[in-house]
């Protein structure tokens, strides 16, 4: 058995899972399962939100160790599903480590939805959340208009600004400003509901829930890392909304 390539495959599987927003125990579990197929005595994996450490050793081989830094994280359920399937195939002996490695590489480059569909989904989700929080049809419509601006900002920032904090601030600034403006001119709209509904695609709901899940699981490092991540994302959004509303009030006072 080629231990090096098995180890390489396990590291990549863990890396993709961690980057796709899988829970820490799932990352560790997947890697341990893959590495255990080698029947080595010592298999250790330590994953956190921001990095993975793993080692594989046995009296008969030279021990292998590796570190992988995880810098960007997003939610990608289809990748978690694919990696899960590939790792199962390895454990059942259906695929070799080499084949699995190429499969994993190809799954990182696949994109199941086009940008147009993602943009549409952003707009629908914002209108949907405005409705979900008890808004009227008009509230939903304003939230959808916010959505269009969010998509435009995301498109403009793409490949130019590599800082999600700043992009989130810009997006939430636009949301707050447009909402205040619309509420001023359209009757029967509620700024609170529209703003909360519109920022839903930005706010860190999943990180804060996963923070508590990781903590309950005993992964305290990941738990606190995710909690801090959630806090920083919220800070960007709150800053943007604050500046947007403040600017609107300033302009309103100057004009009236």
């Amino acid at each position: 058995m080629n231990y090096k390539s098995l180890f390489r495959t396990a590291m990549l599987a863990g890396e993709i899972m961690a980057q796709s927003g899988a829970e820490t125990y799932r990352v560790e579990d997947t890697m341990v399962r893959i590495l255990k197929t080698s029947n080595c005595q010592a298999v250790e994996v330590y994953a956190t939100t921001t990095g993975i450490v793993a080692t594989l050793s046995d009296p008969s081989i030279e021990s292998i160790a590796g570190v992988k830094r995880i810098t960007n994280r997003s939610n990608n359920l289809s990748r978690i599903n694919e990696v899960n399937q590939i790792s199962r195939n390895i454990c059942d002996g259906k695929t070799t480590a080499e084949d699995a490695y190429t499969q994993l590489i190809s799954c990182t480059s696949s994109k199941i939805y086009s940008n147009r569909i993602l943009a549409l989904a952003t707009i629908i989700s914002m209108a949907g959340f405005a409705g979900l929080f008890g808004g009227s049809l008009l509230d939903g419509a304003v939230a959808a208009v916010n959505g269009i601006f969010i998509v435009i900002i995301a498109r403009l920032a793409e490949n130019r600004i590599n800082n999600t904090f700043l992009v989130d601030t810009a997006k939430s600034f636009a949301i707050a400003f447009i909402t205040m403006l619309s509420v001023q001119f359209i009757k029967d709209t509620h700024s609170g509901i529209i703003i909360i509904g519109s920022i839903m695609p930005l706010v860190p709901g999943i990180p804060i829930t996963n923070a508590i899940r990781d903590t309950l699981q005993g992964d305290y490092n990941s738990g606190t890392a995710r909690a801090v991540e959630a806090f920083v994302i919220s800070l960007g959004i709150a800053l943007g909304v604050g500046i947007g509303m403040g600017l609107f009030n300033l302009i309103e006072r100057m004009l009236l």
């Binding site: 990608n76 289809s78 939805y113 949907g128």
Partner: protein, 139 residues
């Protein structure tokens, strides 16, 4: 309330797309989300306690997700993450930071506690159903 439940379906399904859930599962994820929100709204009517309503809704969502995961042979996360998205206190996180920026100490403490309780309720709900299914699996 019907409008809210229908909105929940669209919000959850759209979010599932943003989370790159494969096409064939989008409808199921949307239904999971709207069932959860329906339970939440009903419990809010009866008890008007956000934490209890969130907890009960999470139990139902986690249960539905586990059943769907068994049917389609996928990780539970696939339905769970989009399903709970309407309940997760993302807005709460935002309100915490907003009250910190505006220097409102009372509001900060209130939203902080509420967000922690709601996130805790969701985590606990998921944890209970997970444990239950793990026991069932082992027989």
């Amino acid at each position: 309330m019907i409008i809210q439940v229908i909105s929940a379906f669209f919000a959850t399904a759209a979010f599932a797309v943003l989370f790159f859930l494969p096409k064939k599962y989008i409808i199921q994820a949307g239904v999971t989300g709207s069932i959860g929100w329906f339970i939440y709204l009903i419990l809010m009517e009866i008890t008007s306690d956000k934490v209890w309503a969130t907890f009960a809704a999470t139990l139902i969502i986690a249960l539905t997700s586990h059943i769907l995961a068994r049917i389609y042979k996928t990780p539970v996360t696939m339905f769970l993450i989009p399903g709970v998205i309407a309940l997760v206190p993302g807005a709460g996180m935002f309100q915490i930071v907003q009250s910190i920026i505006e220097n409102e100490v009372d509001n900060t403490a209130y939203y902080f506690l509420q967000t922690l309780q709601m996130a805790g309720a969701i985590a606990l709900g998921i944890f209970i159903i997970d444990t239950f299914f793990r026991k069932v699996k082992k027989g």
